[in-house]
């Protein structure tokens, strides 16, 4: 069996040239669907010991090609039972609680309130460790007196990332642009540096999703003698990868 495996490996140098991952089915059979979803019909199966090439991934599904040249979609959950040519297990990053505790990227959108104005915000974060993240954000608010935009970069520290409900604190700096409403007497656009600190929490929902809420205080370093302090709260959802 091993010899046969080695022989088949030696006979497929073209596959290696295309830099596709080759996997070997270990379960009795692997089902191939016609589309990347649980409801798509299974029209092909790959038997134990047979190999397949992984063409690309779409969400939690992999488009694969069998030795016979048949293409289809295999689910990540089933495909992670397959092995590599050296016999080691194929590792797939799944969107689950373990992924929530430890991941590299996250992003999300918020709605909320910035100093009485309606706020829309988007954020992205890169994990340095499971606890510490570099966050970037962009937000826009529309108020009765003025509209404005904020961009910011900061650090967030997540306490107990393995908990379903994990609190966090954040701290950062950024820039704010303000456009007073044209109906007011002196419409002067301003741009100021800002600093912020805040508390928040994440709550794991399902799959790759979590809810996130933040409360922040912004200190706007204005050109006048007194700094402006604004409060912001926001609620939204994020997803991790």
């Amino acid at each position: 069996m091993l010899a046969l495996g080695a022989l088949s490996l030696a006979m497929t140098p073209a596959h290696a040239a295309r830099e596709l991952l080759q996997l070997f089915v270990t379960q009795p059979y692997l089902e191939l669907h016609t589309g990347p979803g649980r409801g798509y019909p299974v029209t092909q199966v790959v038997a134990r010991g047979e190999s397949l090439d992984v063409l690309f991934r779409r969400t939690d599904w992999f488009k694969v090609r069998t030795e016979r040249g048949v293409e289809g979609w295999a689910s990540a959950r089933e495909l992670q039972l397959a092995t590599l040519a050296d016999g080691s297990q194929f590792q797939v990053k799944m969107g689950d609680r373990a992924g929530f505790a430890s991941h590299r990227w996250e992003a999300g959108i918020f709605a909320g309130d910035y100093a009485g104005a309606t706020l829309i915000a988007a954020f992205g974060a890169l994990s340095i460790t499971d606890n510490l993240k570099i966050e970037i954000g962009a937000s826009q608010y529309t108020g009765n007196v003025s509209d404005g935009e904020l961009v910011e970069i900061g650090l967030a520290h997540v306490f107990m990332p393995e908990w379903r409900f994990s609190p966090l604190v954040d701290l950062g700096t950024g820039y704010r642009w303000v456009q007073p409403k044209a109906t007011l007497a002196t419409p002067v656009d301003r741009s100021d540096e800002v600093g912020y600190y805040g508390v928040g929490a994440r709550f794991y929902l399902t799959r790759r999703f979590f809810l996130r809420g933040d409360f922040r205080k912004y200190v706007v370093f204005t050109r006048t003698n007194t700094n402006e302090v604004n409060e912001e709260w926001r609620l939204g959802f994020g997803f991790f990868y």
């Binding site: 080695a6 490996l9 830099e19 596709l20 991952l21 016609t34 589309g35 990347p36 979803g37 649980r38 409801g39 798509y40 992984v54 690309f56 991934r57 779409r58 969400t59 939690d60 599904w61 992999f62 488009k63 590599l84 040519a85 050296d86 080691s88 969107g95 992003a107 959108i109 709605a111 309606t118 829309i120 988007a122 826009q140 529309t142 509209d147 456009q179 409403k181 044209a182 799959r207 790759r208 999703f209 959802f237 997803f239």
Partner: protein
């Protein structure tokens, strides 16, 4: 009792066989050993016995190529946007989608149109409620979509394409009549994939925001119907 006899017989048989193997029978031809030491002609008695199985295949180093993830869609759309009080106008825009899992995706869109003339402006002759620049209608939306009815579309006998009817909703901002407004968008769309990398879309959405552009504070509904194409990468 029977077991003891059986054991005894077995041990006798084993002793006899090992004895036979160690004896040098005169009629037995002594074959030269295949081992390299034998070919040199001298047999080193003190050398350790050659191992029975020598691994002839070196352990294969498997380089794990990165699997490309094609979860992002980028494309453009074109259609008609009915701007409340300002007529139905052509709209164009761009969209960026990220598919989180087989059910859900997030979408960012940016679109622009130009408001026409209100009925009041048309009927009253030369009245201009808004300047040309103020008539520019631009918006962006951040939405979450749900693939409500995934499926397949068949054209003829040989062509099957994956598809999905999706619901979408989100928040955003509309800039119109010289004012920025917080907006909510919701609607539905249909996506069909002729190939793994190309998707065609039909979308209907409502952009809702509060505005007082004609002096009255009111909720504005702006219905939009578009067709579009996106590329997966």
């Amino acid at each position: 009792m029977e077991t003891r006899i059986r054991l005894l017989l077995l041990s006798i048989a084993a002793a006899a066989m090992s004895g036979c193997a160690s004896m040098h029978w005169p009629w037995h031809h002594h074959k030269p050993d295949a081992a390299p030491s034998a070919s040199s002609g001298t047999q080193d008695v003190d050398a350790p016995p050659p191992s029975v199985i020598e691994p002839q295949v070196e352990r294969r180093e498997v380089k794990v190529p990165k699997i490309r993830a094609k979860d992002i869609e980028l494309g453009a759309y074109y259609g008609e946007l009915s701007i409340q009080d300002f007529g139905a106008q052509p709209v164009e825009g761009g969209r960026l989608d990220y598919h989180i899992n087989e059910d859900l995706f997030v979408e960012a869109t940016y679109g622009r149109a130009k408001g026409g003339r209100t009925s009041y402006e048309l009927l009253s002759g030369n009245v201009q409620l808004l300047s040309d620049a103020e008539r520019r209608f631009t918006y962006y939306n951040l939405s979450l979509g749900y693939n409500l009815l995934p499926g397949e579309v068949f054209i003829g006998r040989n062509l099957a394409m994956t598809s999905a009817l999706y619901m979408i909703g989100g928040i955003g901002n509309v800039k119109f009549a010289g004012d920025q407004n917080f907006a909510v968008n919701f609607g539905a769309g249909f996506r069909v994939l002729p190939t793994d990398w190309l998707a065609l879309h039909i979308d209907v959405q409502d952009l809702v925001f509060k505005s007082n552009d004609i002096g009255v504070n009111q909720l504005k509904n702006n219905l939009q119907a578009t067709i579009g194409a996106t590329v997966f990468f």
